[in-house]
């Protein structure tokens, strides 16, 4: 509540809390622990159904395009880099640099989503794998679709934060909000790291 001398904000220690961890950071980490269980159960469903696929299930390797998915994986990794740079920038009070990094994060996020949409279209119309015509389609589209929705919500959040940063109300003291958003975005990335391996790569072994 008391004002802080300019340039002296410690972004990693909040003296008003019992642990020194800012409340919003603690909240976000607790939420991400919960989201781990959420994706854990969804990924479990997919893996369980890949244990003994019924006869007539399409072969995943015939449907997947490893080139496209690798590309979108690289893009998401790059978006994580951009996000970390954005948080770093606002913690130094560098609004311009934060905005540039945010824009790049959003662009990477949109490219990822574009790749997902393209991939889904390919699978449905060219490879004839739909969400309802096989168990592989059901688990695949639900899992990657849920992840995609998480990415979309992240992009909306990032865009809202970007627009807000142009109103003049976002300053260094609000770095915690950008950092919390960053934690969410990185989490979406690490979930994709798991999905890329267990949903895509494992099929090729």
């Amino acid at each position: 509540m008391s004002s802080v001398a300019s340039g002296a904000i410690d972004h990693h220690h909040d003296s008003t809390t019992s642990t020194g961890i800012p409340n919003k950071k603690l909240l976000m980490w607790a939420f991400l622990a919960s989201d781990c269980m959420f994706f854990g159960c969804l990924i479990s469903t997919h893996l369980i159904y890949r244990l003994h696929p019924p006869a007539g299930t399409p072969a995943a390797t015939q449907v997947f395009s490893i080139e496209l998915t690798s590309f979108s994986t690289f893009i998401l990794l790059m978006s994580s880099l951009m996000m970390a740079l954005a948080v770093n920038a606002i913690q130094k009070g560098n609004l311009k640099s934060m905005r540039a990094s945010l824009i790049l994060t959003i662009i990477c996020g949109l490219i990822f989503l574009g790749c997902q949409v393209y991939e889904f279209n390919e699978f449905v119309y060219v490879k004839h794998l739909t969400i309802s015509n096989s168990i592989l389609g059901t688990t695949f589209f639900t899992l990657t679709g849920t992840h995609g929705i998480h990415v979309l919500l992240g992009v909306i959040w990032l865009t809202s934060m970007l627009i807000y940063s142009y109103t003049g109300r976002l300053t260094e003291k609000d770095a915690i909000d950008v950092e919390s958003m960053g934690l969410y975005w990185h989490f979406v990335d690490i979930v994709w790291i798991v999905i890329f391996t267990v949903v895509y790569l494992l099929e090729y072994i």
Partner: protein
């Protein structure tokens, strides 16, 4: 984790780890000069890209199923841990944040393992797959 990695990883990772460790020594008051934070992030991103490339190549290698699965799991775990400790800043934050997240992560991992075990036994094979 660090001890496990140090043994067999090339120089670039040593550089990142060295930089992160020397900065954690200064702990919560000085988060290094901006150049090396920036460098750490960029180098990590390049490393993650390289590991991803290695993963993609791995699936085409002629090793046994078990070996390949293990390699993939380890590489993914390495990427996962690098992102949470460096991009998500856990390396430099209070230990409680790490504990909090690991509770969720470990529980999710255990639940996944238990579910897969239950569904892997012969009793659980659906009749339509026999």
């Amino acid at each position: 984790m660090d001890r496990n990695l140090h043994g067999r990883i090339p120089t670039r990772i040593h550089l990142i780890l060295y930089k992160t460790m020397s900065h954690s020594a200064v702990a919560n008051h000085d988060h290094g000069n901006e150049h090396s934070k920036f460098e750490i992030f960029v180098q990590l991103a390049m490393l993650l890209a390289v590991i991803t490339g290695v993963e993609i190549i791995t699936v085409y290698l002629p090793f046994s199923h078990t070996t390949l699965v293990t390699v993939l799991m380890v590489l993914s775990a390495v990427k996962f841990l690098f992102v949470i400790f460096i991009f998500m800043h856990l390396r430099w934050d209070k230990a409680f944040c790490t504990i909090l997240f690991f509770i969720g992560m470990v529980l999710a991992g255990f639940t996944m393992w238990a579910l897969l075990q239950v569904f892997s036994v012969s009793n659980s094979i659906p009749l339509s797959s026999l």
